[in-house]
């Protein structure tokens, strides 16, 4: 559904990541499921797929990474109007698991916050491994984490070795999993395709269920245009995803 909307809050989280609060200006929007996403329309510029980092009372929180003209325009939009389409995707309700390890790369951390809050309501715990290229991309995840998520452990990795573990998120995740056998029964990886591919292969022998939050070109969000088909699989990110089990999209992960 299309909703007119307004930016009601902006915050620079780190060198490349910005938080935006968006108020929906018409009635009828339903609370999203974790990993459902929206398309943010910056008039005359672009339409950007965005994860939901939080939602309450018709207000959505998103985390924007500066990467192109569209995202820069959205970041610059401090108090203006925009369009919101959504919420799209099947979402993901992993409530049958006990403890989830969320492995994020860069801005792939965005859906973690909403998942963590919802998981807590369902009695499921979530821990975080977050990797970034440079330490200047980091912010303190706990500052956005709902206070209900007290028992959440946070592990940080930087590829420039300026903070936390020196290396990639997938390597750090692999290490903490081996140091804490049996602690997690579900892994969800979210971020660039390289990270998803590494998580699916590195952790395949851990016996933990492995899911990934995919990214690809999304144009319409409603399953009509077919741009987001995860070739060679008959699956649409916007309809059947964006979260898939590793083994269900092996061909797609290999191709990227």
């Amino acid at each position: 559904m299309y909703y007119p909307a307004k930016i009601t809050g902006s915050e620079k989280l780190s060198k490349t990541l910005y938080l935006k609060r968006i108020k929906i200006l018409s009635d009828g929007i339903k609370e999203p499921l974790p990993f459902q996403f929206l398309l943010a329309w910056v008039p005359g510029v672009d339409l950007l797929p965005m994860s939901v980092a939080d939602f309450s009372n018709g207000e959505v929180v998103i985390i924007v990474k500066e990467r192109g003209e569209g995202s820069r325009a959205l970041i610059r939009l401090h108090s203006g109007f925009l369009g919101v389409m959504g919420f799209y995707g099947a979402g993901f309700k992993p409530w049958s698991y006990k403890r989830i390890l969320f492995i994020a790369g860069g801005s792939g951390i965005a859906p973690f916050f909403y998942l963590a809050r919802k998981a807590c309501e369902e009695g499921v715990s979530v821990d975080l491994v977050w990797g970034v290229r440079g330490g200047d991309e980091l912010f303190n995840p706990r500052s956005l984490l709902n206070t209900v998520n007290k028992d959440t452990a946070i592990y940080v990795a930087t590829e420039d070795c300026s903070a936390g573990y020196c290396g990639r998120a997938s390597m750090l995740a692999s290490r903490v999993i081996h140091e804490n056998p049996g602690k997690w029964d579900l892994v969800i990886a979210s971020g660039p395709q390289g990270l998803l591919r590494e998580v699916c292969s590195l952790l395949s022998d851990t016996g933990i269920e492995l899911y990934v939050n995919t990214e690809t070109l999304v144009k319409c969000g409603v399953g009509a245009c077919g741009s987001c088909v995860l070739k060679p699989h008959p699956l649409l990110l916007c309809k059947h995803g964006p979260v898939f089990r590793c083994r269900d999209i092996e061909g797609f992960l290999k191709g990227g």
Partner: protein, 299 residues
């Protein structure tokens, strides 16, 4: 009980997908086949690849309609044999929708479709939002005649013309039949617009788009009725079908088959629901065959 035939294709039931929702890649056909359609209709394929318009290309409206201006995005003619192969693998008849901006382009595409062995072609003479394509051609009955005539002369398969809402749709339908189409698909989306009242701009990047979904269903019923009354032609009814009753109306107005597009977005079980509804309807009315009800409301 629900069997039908259209343009020489014998179908297990009357429900196929409408061109435009998915249908430009083999993976899309797999997704559509899972829905249970009796035949698959491709997205409109043009000779050369088309990027289509930049997003926003689709808007879900407050009135349960859908507005789109995708801009005939498709991979071009090279995908035709790929789609034909996939449809055979899925054991589904394939109706290839083709679009051109000239008579020659339609002719070339019809030749390629014949070579690839698809089951029929549907000429897109009705897309309302692509400059030089679709409705701009279909609103001129003499041009419809020329495109159909030349296409039919080279095609070794049934040719269907898809026409949209214009003041001269009955005339265009007559010319298409005169030039040799086996069936007509009626109607396409209806040219429309949506404006955001805070950003003060049309939402679609193309500004204009095609309206589909429940709001256009009564328009489709009217056009099917008028064309059937005039020519008793074979018609595929399309426009805003979201329940078995919508299908029943189109069939009573003269359609032998129907296409479903927008409703797929909200309801993955739409085909099964329609088929069981039609089945019960036939029993309630005491009919043995759906075909006996085609055009019964027309006098």
């Amino acid at each position: 009980m629900l069997e039908t035939s259209i343009a020489g294709l014998r179908l297990k039931h009357p429900v196929m997908n409408a061109s435009g929702i998915l249908g430009s890649e083999p993976e899309h056909l797999e997704i559509l086949a899972k829905q249970g359609f009796s035949a698959l209709v491709s997205k409109t394929i043009t000779l050369n690849p088309r990027e289509g318009y930049p997003p926003p290309i689709i808007v879900e409206l407050r009135n349960n309609g859908l507005l789109n201006a995708v801009g005939l995005a498709n991979p071009g003619a090279r995908v035709i044999p790929v789609l034909a192969r996939k449809a055979r693998e899925l054991s589904k008849p394939l109706i290839l929708s083709i679009g051109g901006s000239s008579v020659e382009e339609f002719v070339k595409l019809a030749e390629l479709a014949s070579e690839a062995g698809v089951d029929a072609v549907e000429l897109n003479l009705s897309c309302p939002h692509a400059e030089g394509y679709g409705l701009e051609l279909g609103s001129d009955p003499m041009l419809v005649y020329r495109i159909v005539k030349d296409t039919v002369s080279v095609a070794s398969l049934p040719v269907i013309a898809k026409l949209g809402l214009t003041d001269r749709v009955i005339e265009s339908a007559g010319k298409a039949l005169e030039a040799g189409v086996k069936a007509l698909t009626l109607i396409n989306t209806v040219k429309a617009m949506s404006i955001d009242v805070y950003t003060l701009k049309p939402v679609l990047s193309n500004k204009y788009g095609g309206l589909s979904g429940p709001p256009i269903h009564p328009i489709a019923v009217r056009v099917v009725y008028d064309v059937y009354r005039e020519y008793r032609a074979e018609i595929i009814g399309v426009g805003g079908v979201s329940s078995w009753m919508d299908v029943a109306e189109l069939m009573l107005a003269g359609a032998r088959a129907v296409q479903v597009g927008t409703a797929l977005i909200w309801n993955e079980n739409i085909v099964d629901e329609i088929l069981s509804g039609l089945h019960k309807w036939l029993i309630d009315l005491g009919y043995n065959s759906l075909m006996d009800l085609v055009g019964i409301a027309v006098m």
